[in-house]
């Protein structure tokens, strides 16, 4: 029979320990988890965004009920462990059961400290710790007005922010004069207070609560100085206390917390403890990063490896209030022989303070600009000698040429720099995962590495690493990188093989290049589909190899519905068109309509079955698909131009429409956007488009390779021409060269950087080459410019895509 492991506490530390244990030794124990909360394990940190209405409960579940079943873990939730008989090795539960153990893991967390004042048990007085607490607060916010949060620490401020977002008028009461005094010095605290006051919160500093007033429900709060304020809800956020009653009652040695050794063992060798309930080397922790480190160590010992040692943790904090950028780590109150570096820019709302001792960082407080937080934290933990960089340390490394993304800075971080404090993920882990598994999205990085998957405050940093890693990959080794795991051939080699050997289907290519998988995979199939249809226009297109958006001709949304963006030529519209859109929206009960950044209108939340009928109505009104969903030509943005604008030099809207008529419907390696501005003021932002036109008195400047989005790149000037016809021909030729040469998912910006502007000029500026490329584009457009919405709504194309095969209820 397997050994019995019993875990008391179905919370973050307990379950992380179990996960770590399953990773290293899956079959060793029969595991039982006892949790008094009637839920699966959820991400407690996310209670703040949950309260603020930025998340829903489902999104913050870490281990779903199915997870316990799949891993053969018995979960007893909604019942507390009431006593431990260490002699008999048994745990008794509130519901009367007893469970025996060979090893016991205590992970009981902590509970809010409730001030011992009269009235603290009235209805409407809550802590901020559990889902129930949040539900009570949200419920109160529906019918009540005044909330008082006692405690101006991290939790208190997050509670206050959430309640304010729920519509309550909130006063934060703090006993000292400095809010978040555990994390902030006075100056940073003042900046924070000012910002939160601007947002609408009220503060009462140096106020000592004397009593909570009311008969059954709370009605107000009275302070030592006699002041009384009204309150319908009181949140106690004055601190937490490790939950040690159970351990103490069973005779385990406890101080502030359950005392554990460096192996997370209590004084009873059969019993381990992790999380906020423990005291290790005299310290208790209230953040998840240390708990996750402890979880690794305890798993190591439960698996009988016997070498994991927990040395204690250095922690850093961020405040999870949207719009507030705040970071703090280490000791930020200087002592006698310490040095302080200080930067204060009240106008910009930026404050940075670094405390140095012997040229090593002891602590840091950053407000308003926290990009360098991770770097300082790393230096602090490594005890890096900073005498060399001392002059510039405070100014950070954010690099302007990068539109403030700080990619350069990220590149300078060593691989060992910790990026995600919650999950202990270093930069090297992230870049390795990105490269090894060809990751492209934040979600992918999260699922592979867990970086930014807990509190999320390092999301921006992870994104930067993603951007700089993927960007690097494009630039450095484009030719040598295999397209995906199914092949050793690169994009360029595959493109050449298709044309040279007249390969005209996926299967033909797979055979020719000896593909590893019969059907390829989700990475290569869409790429090859594009290469084939670009090489053989009108002859080949496999819908099953397209990403769903291009198959359903709409953008899939997170709830499985679709969005619909009809084309609005050059951003122009008419009363009739607007009426038709309004009618469609009414008829199909479209839940949300938005004007897009591409100068047209997006209808959100359309059920897939309804798409053909809705498109049919749009077609009747003269609309065609806007291809907002495709690796395709998207939009042509225009400014008003010489028709109306006092500065306009040319008719930018008319030219925009002509360009859109020329290019619409075209499939591309990546999305492709155009714009026409009628003067250098450039209101249509033509210089961050794939193809942009800036009109001047004497003609048209043609710009290429611009990109907004993740990494902003300003266009290169290709040439200047004097007539509209030339603009159109250059555009066609440039577009076709890109279509035939770029790698799938390579936008014009990285493409231009890879092959160089000169090569593009060679192709497009030479008249005969230009004409050949343009000719091929016109040819390809003949089969591309058939409205996919019309084909599907009126000609019965791909009917199966939009209808269920059967309905089987009674």
């Amino acid at each position: 029979m397997k050994e019995q492991l019993v875990v008391i506490g179905n919370g973050m530390a307990g379950m992380r320990s179990v996960e770590e244990l399953l990773k290293v030794s899956a079959d060793q124990y029969e595991i039982t988890v006892i949790g008094d909360e009637p839920h699966p394990n959820y991400n407690r940190i996310m209670l703040s965004p949950l309260l603020a209405g930025e998340k829903v409960f489902d999104e913050i579940i870490i281990n779903s009920p199915e997870w316990y079943v799949e891993n053969d873990i018995q979960l007893l939730s909604g019942t507390a462990a009431t006593s431990i008989h260490r002699g008999r090795r048994e745990v008794s539960l509130a519901d009367g059961r007893t469970i025996s153990y060979d090893r016991l893991l205590m992970a009981t967390g902590s509970h809010p400290f409730i001030l011992p004042v009269p009235g603290n048990d009235l209805q409407g007085v809550v802590g901020f710790r559990t889902l129930e607490d949040v539900e009570t607060m949200v419920e109160a916010a529906k019918s009540q007005t005044h909330a008082v949060v006692i405690g101006g620490g991290l939790l208190g401020l997050e509670a206050a922010n959430g309640l304010h977002k729920q519509g309550m008028s909130v006063t934060v009461v703090h006993i000292g004069s400095v809010m978040m005094n555990q994390q902030l010095d006075e100056a940073a605290s003042m900046l924070l207070k000012r910002k939160l006051e601007e947002d609408g919160l009220h503060f009462l500093l140096e106020a000592e609560t004397e009593a909570i007033l009311g008969s059954e429900r709370v009605e107000g709060v009275r302070f030592k100085d006699g002041l009384e304020i009204p309150a319908d809800l009181v949140v106690m956020a004055v601190g937490i206390r490790p939950s040690i009653q159970l351990a103490e009652a069973s005779g385990l040695y406890c101080n502030r917390g359950i005392v554990v050794s460096d192996t997370m063992q209590t004084y009873d060798p059969k019993i381990y403890a992790v999380g906020e309930c423990v005291e290790h080397r005299g310290t208790t922790y209230g953040l998840v990063a240390p708990l996750f480190e402890q979880a690794k160590v305890v798993a190591n010992h439960l698996a009988s490896f016997g070498f994991g040692i927990y040395n204690g943790s250095v922690t850093s904090t961020k405040l999870k209030v949207t719009g507030v950028d705040l970071f703090s780590a280490g000791t930020f109150h200087e002592q006698e022989h310490d040095d302080v570096l200080l930067l204060q820019d009240a106008n910009r709302g930026v404050y940075k303070k670094i405390v140095l001792s012997n040229n090593r960082i002891k602590g840091a407080v950053l407000y308003g600009d926290t990009l360098d937080g991770a770097r300082y934290f790393q230096m602090m933990r490594d005890q890096t000698d900073i005498s060399e960089s001392r002059d510039t340390l405070l100014f950070g490394q954010a690099n302007l040429g990068d539109s403030g993304h700080g990619a350069l800075q990220v590149m300078n971080l060593p691989d060992s720099a910790e990026v995600c404090g919650c999950n202990g993920v270093c930069k090297g882990d992230i870049t390795k995962a990105i490269n090894k598994n060809s990751l492209f999205t934040l979600d992918e990085v999260r699922s592979h590495t867990k970086a930014s998957a807990s509190c999320g405050s390092c999301t921006a940093l992870v994104q930067q690493i993603l951007a700089s890693t993927v960007g690097e990959g494009y630039a450095e080794t484009p030719a040598k990188k295999p397209l995906c795991g199914c092949t050793t051939y690169s994009h360029s080699e595959i493109r050449r093989a298709i044309v040279d050997n007249r390969l005209k289907s996926h299967q033909a290519l797979y055979q020719f290049l000896e593909w590893a998988q019969t059907d390829g995979c989700h990475t290569c199939r869409p790429a090859i589909n594009y290469y084939l249809l670009c090489a053989w226009p009108g002859e080949y297109d496999d819908p099953q190899s397209r990403y769903i958006n291009e198959r359903a001709h709409g953008n899939i949304q997170k709830d499985g519905s679709y969005s619909v963006v009809p084309r609005m030529w050059g951003g122009m519209t008419t009363p009739d068109e607007l009426r038709a859109i309004a009618d469609v929206a009414d008829k199909f009960e479209v839940p949300e309509i938005k004007v897009t950044g591409g100068q047209r209108i997006d209808l959100f939340g359309v059920a897939k079955e309804n798409l053909p009928a809705l498109w049919s109505d749009l077609n009747q009104a003269g609309f065609v698909s806007g291809h907002a969903y495709g690796k395709a030509m998207r939009t042509v943005k225009t400014c008003v131009g010489s028709q109306w604008c006092r500065f306009g030099t040319q008719n930018s809207t008319a030219l925009g429409i002509k360009l859109e008529e020329l290019t619409w419907g075209s499939w591309m390696p990546h999305k492709f956007k155009l714009a026409v501005s009628a003067c250098p003021r450039n209101c249509a932002e033509a210089t961050i488009k794939d193809f942009g036109v800036v009109c001047v008195e004497s003609g048209y400047e043609l710009h290429i390779g611009g990109n907004g989005g993740i990494k902003v790149r300003v266009t290169d000037l290709l040439t200047k021409v004097s007539r509209e016809e030339e603009v159109l021909e250059y555009c066609a030729a440039f577009t076709q060269f890109y279509r035939e040469d770029a790698h799938y998912l390579e936008r014009t910006a990285p493409w231009v950087e890879r092959i160089g502007l000169q090569q593009i000029k060679n192709v497009v500026k030479d008249e005969s080459t230009r004409k050949r490329y343009a000719e091929r584009f016109y040819h390809s457009q003949q089969s591309a410019q058939i409205d996919p919405w019309m084909e599907r709504s009126q000609q019965g194309v791909a009917e199966h895509e939009f209808t269920p095969i059967a309905t089987i209820n009674g």
């Binding site: 699922s447 990403y547 499985g560």
Partner: protein, 110 residues
């Protein structure tokens, strides 16, 4: 709980490397057809965030979820690779051209 076997249509109604949905009281069931002409039936809901698997790209005996690219094994319903999670599967049989799906019979009362 008793089971019921229902005819849902013919093989050719599902595109190769594609999927169609059967609507049922317990939610949508996605029927997949692979390039080897094998059929699979799984709940149309990704174990990650309930993405509609029927909308994904099918390759081998797997489908890639359209929302965040989890790859789900159609035989077992399990997520593959670094991801963990499982979606329920159903029995599907071919008889000549016809396809039969087996579901718990309470699905039929409604």
């Amino acid at each position: 709980m008793s089971q019921k076997r229902i005819e849902i249509g013919t093989r050719s109604e599902i595109p190769m490397l594609g999927s169609r949905i059967v609507k049922s009281d317990e939610g949508d069931i996605a029927i997949f057809r692979t390039s080897q002409d094998t059929f699979f039936a799984v709940r149309d809901s990704c174990p990650h965030r309930q993405g509609p698997l029927s909308q994904g790209i099918v390759h081998g005996d797997r489908v890639t979820c359209p929302l965040h690219n989890w790859v789900i094994d159609l035989q077992s319903g399990e997520a593959t690779g670094p991801d963990a999670g499982c979606t329920p599967t159903y029995q599907i049989e071919q008889e000549g051209e016809r396809l039969y799906l087996t579901v718990a019979s309470h699905t039929l009362q409604g």
